[in-house]
Symmetry: D2
Subunit: 184 residues, 4 copies
């Protein structure tokens, strides 16, 4: 796998993840994000289980999640997952979730994390597992390169200017999605 | 608390426990049973956390659950929980779950367990925590005393003779429920 | 797909499905069973969502589950799912769950169901969706053919004679698993 | 109940809500927030189920959650829940979650919502259920009054100046908690 490729995680919704509103309960998306995170680490050949084996845990410090459109049982979502920020001590993972069937945005989210030892004291990954530190840096660089002026323009419109919001976001997504390389 | 009293656990259903059928997802009842089990241990002054503190875990060996009527968000259920079988090594917990509003049976269930040490080897509770072994025996005796000929008659009809099934069960429940002593 | 082939559903365990004992919480297996059930219906080209589209829901009447060995985060399980009993009104689904890595039995389970209309009145599938009724009958026949005298012998030993229990079951599983045809 | 009193929701952690790290899985806190939200609506005598009865649903638009300290099985948390923003169309609920045993902050969170009709079109609560609109305004006013200069000072320190962060926050919480009036 090339760490510069997009990491796209595919997931089909289970019946038990819906609620009486008929759609996925909002708390379950937070779980899909975790799955996507583990998927990213797996594909970068630094599986979460090896962090644990080295005595490193990765607690969640913060979750921020914007809900756009619903999905429900039997729908399939695609989660694009990327390393937004990384400095060896803390990092931020970003998630762009779309409905596979129609490319509609489902959620936009980010989670913040740090690395701790077994006593839950924060540690510097560079000192503990330098090899993984290096991979994180490559993933973060790949993300930074992918962010261009168009992205910011669209993101700005998405966040602030309601009427054309989804329209633009979807057009942008559709353009970008053609370039998504699914990892297998 | 008198270990001979009925142990009734009260629980109100949360929104996130329903599914798109509009009712509680069947897997969540298994979780309510665990809550009721912990409640029983708490009230008998042998909280689960003290088992853990003594290096004893209580894995689940078997779950058997019959679903009768649905409940949904904002409903309240009453779980009568009792020690059906106990021999120091294995035990069976029984559960009678009814809708508080109308006394309808919701589920009838039992779970089987054993005691293990930290290496997950089965152990005899009598040798490890004799005090708790004694309490389990009292709880089991209390259950046995409560089972009378009427219970078996009704239970038999409940299981085998469909048309009058719920009718009888409910009448029986209504009669018995007047005698339930809620622990607080 | 040939309805006579074995239906094997593959599932990798997520972090959020473990509990503080370090292994999958027992209630989550009930959810995996549902996933396997939907997988079976999908593969037989009668997806659950089409039942719903025809106004038919499939409530769970009963769950019986025996827990054998634990699995945990990042493990992969294989769920063999089959139609044990079917008469048009009620049916029983059986599940044989093994750890993919070592073929150890994880759980053995069955769930019982009926068909209902939108008012939750029981219905006969043959009258409502005869095409699906036919498929259920084929799946049930395929299961019956697969059950031979060796199966019963092994099953009997599995249930009753403890010392050689897992040994035999595993040998049997290993023999049979070579013949499993994974659906894709 | 006086809508100007603090709304404090008490919740004990269940075993099945922990993960293999030994503590509550981060996605479950999002569920506790929903429970607290329903509690607030209940106590203000506008239960969620009445919104549904009037054809109004309350989807979640956004969740933002900062994790401070862990809690685990058998711990009890207190969730202070309040209406941070309200304008008839959208609203923001804030949550301050502390460990009951030692008053430590567990999470600080907010969720954003709107009101929709059965077709998921946004609506103005004032036009649909003016009585509930009025209650929301009272709750929002009560929150605004409770926010004083000390709150901002402490909140600022909590967010930005790490070393004295928790110290100050806890002192502040301890001072304030004495004034909490538990609803029953």
């Amino acid at each position: 796998m090339d760490l510069n490729d997009d990491a796209i995680y595919e997931r089909t919704i289970n019946y038990y993840e819906t609620d009486r509103m008929g759609v996925v309960h909002h708390s379950n998306y937070i779980r899909y994000l975790e799955e996507a995170r583990c998927f990213l680490l797996d594909k970068a050949e630094m599986p979460f289980i090896e962090f644990e084996g080295n005595g490193v845990t990765i607690p969640v410090l913060e979750v921020n999640c914007k809900y756009k459109y619903h999905v429900t049982f039997a729908d399939t979502i695609l989660i694009k997952v990327f390393v937004k920020e990384y400095d060896g001590i803390k990092f931020t993972i970003g998630y762009d979730v779309v409905n596979k069937a129609n490319n509609q945005p489902v959620i936009m989210a980010e989670t913040k994390h740090c690395f701790t030892n077994r006593n839950l004291r924060p540690i510097n990954l560079k000192k503990h597992i330098p090899e993984f530190d290096q991979k994180f840096r490559v993933l973060n660089e790949a993300y930074k390169k992918s962010v261009d002026i168009w992205f910011f323009l669209v993101y700005f419109l998405t966040l602030w200017y309601n009427p054309i919001k989804f329209k633009n976001y979807e057009l942008y997504q559709k353009k970008k999605r053609k370039e998504w390389v699914i990892w297998n």
